[in-house]
């Protein structure tokens, strides 16, 4: 996970969800720790898509979690989310 990515994502979450930025940490779980609900998360994903020029595959991630193929931690703990964002950016620029 790049520090730059986390800094931008933390700022997006703080602004979108009105959470103090100091409470947004790499090991924070967006849902369990920060209390972000699914509708607020759409705003966050929208801002991430715009900021990084990617399309976060939220539908596929949600489906994987619902099917038991992934845990929520894999996508919604911020350091993991940011690592996925880095991969999506790298794939786009490849």
């Amino acid at each position: 996970m790049s520090t730059e990515t986390f800094t931008k994502v933390a700022a997006i979450i703080a602004e979108t969800s009105e959470i103090p930025i100091d409470d947004v940490k790499p090991d924070s779980h967006a849902i369990d720790d920060l209390g972000i609900d699914s509708l607020d998360f759409l705003d966050i994903v929208y801002a991430i898509d715009k900021e990084f020029g990617i399309k976060v595959p939220l539908e596929a991630w949600t489906q994987e979690v619902n099917d038991g193929k992934a845990t929520t931690e894999e996508y919604f703990v911020l350091e993991n989310l940011c690592a996925h964002i880095d991969k999506l950016r790298a794939a786009k620029s490849a």
Partner: protein, 149 residues
């Protein structure tokens, strides 16, 4: 709320539609006595319908957009019975499982309202709903090409 789609620009991801506020409606009895106005919530509904048909058309009626959020709604002028309305919806963002549109309503060139709308996009929860929307799309003049998968 929408009477007819006047333009569906696939490349520009924009839909324009027309409708006329009814001269009489039970809504006007309470909103407001002696000063009938189209409620803002119905203007939002009009923008949501235009946005919904835009998304349905762009996605070929595969999934259903459900209104999930209304942002930055502004109501600039009163809308009275009989007013002819033009509603425009443009796709602002095509996300994974969601979409955002920017929509506006005008009358005789005057801006009436605008908003950014958020839609959660899901499989149709009922075949009946899909059939109803397809029939409505035909009625309001959505292009044939967007009705087939």
């Amino acid at each position: 709320m929408i009477d007819a789609v006047s333009a569906f620009d696939e490349e520009g991801k924009t839909l324009t539609a027309d409708c006329v506020v009814p001269d009489e409606s039970p809504v006007f009895e309470g909103h407001f006595p002696g000063h009938p106005l189209m409620p803002g919530v119905l203007l939002v509904e009009t923008m949501a319908q235009a946005s919904g048909y835009l998304i349905l058309g762009l996605k070929r009626f595969v999934n259903m957009p459900f209104l999930a959020g209304v942002k930055n709604a502004k109501f600039r002028n009163f809308v009275e019975p009989g007013a002819p309305l033009t509603v425009t919806a443009s796709l602002d963002h095509d996300g994974s499982g969601f979409a955002m549109t920017k929509a506006s309503v005008s009358s005789a060139g005057a801006s009436l309202c605008q908003a950014t709308l958020v839609f959660k996009i899901m499989p149709f929860p009922a075949r009946e709903l899909e059939q109803h929307l397809r029939a409505s799309a035909v009625r309001i003049g959505m292009p044939d090409r967007v009705l087939s998968r």
